[in-house]
């Protein structure tokens, strides 16, 4: 194991201001940035604030800007960062609470405005959906709500005044997911156009670049959503047609439901 040192510059402060403080520690093999932050807490700065839960890239709590790049601290390995000081700062788009912790309540407020999922009543033997028809929705549901895409999106990053009228990329994928859900019957297009500010997004793709779940936010959600929504004339018949077409008819074999084990464990077949 090497005796190398790591040098960290970590933002310390609160809503009234703050500055970067320097911490030096012995490096440890295989560490991620969050490990180093935890070691700083345990040995040098017990009140250094950061959020975390899973330490495995699954909960989206530990978002920060590492060397200027919005990232998860628990998934950023120290040995993959360039030599020199590692700079850790809180997300810029949200108000500071303390140190690396920001007030992300904006996102929870936007979530409250999403018109709910609305399926038809289930048929006697339960809903049927084909894997191919839910694949895209599943991609969006991988979202761990780290809000890094929200952090990087320039529409709100530099323009606080846009926040009330803008849902942001995390919620564009949520709208896209609901729009593409084979069972949903709720039409949110007017809402997305007027209240969620989809028109303000100019497809810079910065959100896609930072998404730790590698969700293709722009290509797979925003652009198709724009086509459906902005698609000038509000045409309920065309919309309905599109919804219905998403549902592939079952072949007779599929409908009878001959399930052999290996077919069943393979979601693609």
């Amino acid at each position: 194991m090497s005796e190398r040192e790591v040098n960290m510059r970590v933002w310390r402060g609160d809503a009234n201001g703050g500055n970067f403080e320097k911490y030096s520690l012995a490096s440890q093999e295989g560490e991620v940035v969050l490990d180093v932050i935890h070691r700083i807490q345990a040995t040098q700065a017990p009140d250094l604030a950061c959020r975390w839960n899973c330490k495995a890239g699954k909960c989206g709590s530990c978002s920060a800007e590492i060397n200027g790049k919005p990232s998860l601290m628990c998934m950023t390995r120290m040995d993959e960062l360039p030599e020199g000081d590692v700079v850790v700062a809180p997300m810029k788009t949200f108000p500071i609470l303390r140190d690396l912790v920001t007030d992300v309540s904006f996102n929870y407020e936007v979530a409250k405005r999403v018109p709910a999922f609305q399926p038809p009543p289930p048929p006697e033997d339960g809903y049927r959906m084909q894997q191919v028809d839910i694949q895209r929705g599943q991609e969006f549901r991988k979202c761990i709500e780290c809000f890094l895409c929200q952090d990087v999106c320039h529409v709100i990053r530099d323009h606080e005044e846009n926040k009330p009228a803008y849902a942001g990329p995390r919620f564009f994928i949520r709208y896209a997911e609901l729009e593409m859900h084979p069972l949903d019957t709720n039409d949110r297009r007017e809402f997305v156009r007027q209240k969620a500010g989809l028109g303000m997004c100019n497809i810079t793709k910065c959100c896609t670049e930072v998404c730790p779940e590698h969700i293709k936010i722009t290509d797979n959600a925003i652009i198709p959503l724009k086509e459906r929504v902005v698609d000038a004339a509000y045409d309920p018949i065309a919309w309905l047609g599109r919804k219905v077409r998403q549902k592939r008819k079952l072949t007779p074999e599929e409908a009878v439901g001959t399930v052999s084990h290996d077919v069943a464990t393979d979601p693609d077949s």
Binding site: G57, M75, V259, H261
Partner: protein
């Protein structure tokens, strides 16, 4: 004394994992004023980390499956010390709870005919786990969260409850806590409370659990006078990561084995064939060829021993490592690379692929993983009534991992997520009924509130005391080395003594800084619960002089039929000590007992 804000509700639910969210949805649905309180942001609870799936006998892949088989598997996995009524309700109701999630927007993986796909897991006779790749917990928590938000349920997030208070007739009436962002104190009064606070794993050094799993609910129930049972039963999951050190303990889903992965020692041997216990011999393959055929044909072959219940697999890995046949970093090898195609592995186990690639630099499609046991789940917890989830403290209900009974001595994978749904709902109903029947306004004694606040603030005002981080570290070392997967009388008594000393040190903590978002202070307020649950686990482990499920005694290596008839109940005495009492389980009805017989 610092000021505090007060809120009044019908039902307060402490914890917003799967169990708490499901309880809140139910209580809200009954028309009661309901609020959720949680230590982290909404949607970040431990449930989000669950990987493999939720067990429910839907019979979509194996039409032979039904609640009776699920009941049998759960009881056998739990070494039959489970609360049979809970096991029965769970097996019967789990399918409805899964379908309900679908109606709320969940997108489970599908079978070829468009129904919910199910996967194999250890101890389940049939492929039974509804899942979404290896991120089922995320799907579950997000679906419930979105449902709760659309219903407009109030959520107090990043708010930690310290203690429950009772009114003069002994009903739980208030909860005192603080907002983590500001450090300001808050008091909730309500007609009924539900504890859904999850696990206790943080008291061990190597654990798959998040920082929140400090056993707060277990401790608060204890302090409120409720009974706890089975605290000696802690599940060490057989496959945690062992390297790099910084991720030691992080979970490797059982889905790897369910999808064909096998365990090998340093000689490359599939050692699990050497460890098949009598109880499972009749249903376990005795050759590699048969085990391999089973994946394609469950009817004519028996399951491979890698899919024995978790306690068996964890102990076997432990023995291999002790015998000097471990991997370079002190685990064994989990190999799926030589058994399945890279495409299959990436599709079935995307987040495992990701986790090993990014954190360990290991490509699981070409190399084996190194794995070893990690502290994962507590079967023990608050004693509850199967139907209503009522604890023995009036006004207090409990569901999810903090409650006990369903899993007995050992939990089967996938049975927790379904537990959260089935008993979360029942706790919501139970609490609603209690709240509706309660007369008078719940009251709180201000001096009691003041003393809770004073206690919490004490470390901030104290100079020259000890760091909470050092105390946490010593506690974790103690529990890891003395109350781990294999236990013995002398080590357990040593642990009990060590915990006494740690308790004394805990009374002398010092914390720097102020109360707003101060992790050092937050930890200082978690330590009393961590110490309390450590005591309960150690106390139970000393009493249970046999080996059963998640509790293995080196000095009593086999099960003892007499011990098999009892559960150890622990409760707090007003004098400050803890009383431990064996209680006999109610007899199982004949028709259920029949299901457990050989050949069924």
């Amino acid at each position: 004394m610092p000021e505090y804000e007060s809120h009044e509700y019908d039902v307060i639910i402490i914890g917003a994992g799967g169990a708490g969210l499901r309880a809140a949805i139910e209580a809200h649905g009954k028309g009661l004023r309901t609020a959720l309180v949680c230590k982290s942001l909404l949607g970040k609870a431990h449930t989000v980390m669950a990987e493999g799936g939720a067990a429910a006998a839907l019979g979509n892949v194996w039409p032979e499956d039904n609640w009776k088989v699920h009941f049998r598997d759960t009881m056998r996995g739990g070494k039959t010390v489970n609360n049979w009524r809970m096991a029965q309700l769970h097996a019967q109701e789990a399918p409805d709870r899964i379908y309900e999630l679908e109606a709320w927007g969940a997108l489970f993986d599908r079978t070829a005919d468009g129904r919910i796909l199910q996967r194999d897991f250890g101890g389940h006779r049939y492929a039974r786990l509804a899942h979404v790749g290896d991120r089922t917990g995320l799907e579950l928590i997000r679906t419930l969260q979105q449902r709760a938000v659309s219903l407009g349920i109030d959520v107090f997030m990043e708010c930690k409850i310290l203690k429950l208070l009772k009114d003069s007739d002994g009903q739980v009436s208030a909860a005192v806590g603080y907002w983590r962002p500001t450090g300001e104190f808050i008091v909730f009064t309500a007609k009924a409370f539900v504890l859904a606070t999850g696990s206790i794993g943080r008291s061990w050094k190597y654990t798959s659990n998040s920082w929140e799993s400090t056993g707060d609910g277990h401790a608060m129930a204890l302090w409120a006078g409720a009974d706890l049972i089975d605290m000696e039963f802690v599940q060490f999951h057989p496959t945690g990561m062992v390297w790099p050190l910084s991720v030691r303990g992080l979970l490797v889903t059982e889905g790897v084995r369910g999808d064909g992965g096998v365990l090998r020692n340093s000689d490359g041997k599939r050692f699990m064939f050497d460890y098949i216990p009598e109880m499972f011999a009749a249903e376990t393959a005795d050759s590699e060829a048969e085990g391999d055929r089973w994946y394609e044909d469950h009817t004519n072959n028996r399951r491979p021993p890698e899919l024995l219940p978790r306690d068996e697999v964890a102990r076997s890995i432990n023995s291999e490592v002790k015998a000097g046949r471990g991997s370079p970093h002190g685990g064994v090898f989990l190999d799926i690379a030589s058994r399945r195609s890279p495409e299959y592995i990436r599709r079935r186990l995307p987040s495992m692929y990701h986790q090993f690639m990014e954190l360990a630099g290991v490509d699981i499609t070409t190399e084996p993983m190194e794995v070893g046991p990690t502290c994962h789940y507590v079967m023990g917890g608050i004693r509850v009534d199967a139907e209503s989830a009522a604890t023995t403290a009036p006004g207090l209900f409990a569901a999810g991992e903090v409650a006990a009974g369903l899993h007995g001595a050992n939990r089967l994978g996938g049975n927790s997520l379904s537990d959260l749904l089935v008993f979360g709902r029942r706790a919501g109903l139970g609490a609603s009924e209690y709240a509706e029947g309660r007369t008078g306004t719940p009251s709180v004694d201000n001096s009691e509130v003041d003393s809770v606040i004073e206690g919490a603030l004490a470390p901030l005002g104290r100079d020259g005391g000890e760091s909470p981080y050092d105390l946490q570290n010593d506690l974790q070392e103690t529990m890891q080395s003395l109350v781990g997967i294999i236990r013995t009388e002398s080590e357990l008594t040593a642990a009990d003594e060590a915990l006494g000393e740690l308790d004394e040190r805990a009374a002398n903590l010092s914390v720097s800084g102020a109360t707003p978002y101060n992790p050092g202070w937050n930890l200082a307020t978690d330590l009393p619960s961590m110490l309390a649950v450590s005591r309960l686990v150690t106390g139970g482990a000393i009493q249970r002089k046999e080996s059963r499920g998640g509790h293995t005694r080196d000095d009593f290596p086999g099960p003892d039929p007499e011990m098999g008839k009892v559960n150890f109940v622990q409760r707090y005495l007003d004098t400050g000590g803890i009383e431990i009492e064996p209680t006999t389980r109610p007899e199982m009805p004949e028709e259920l007992a029949e299901l457990l017989k050989e050949g069924n």
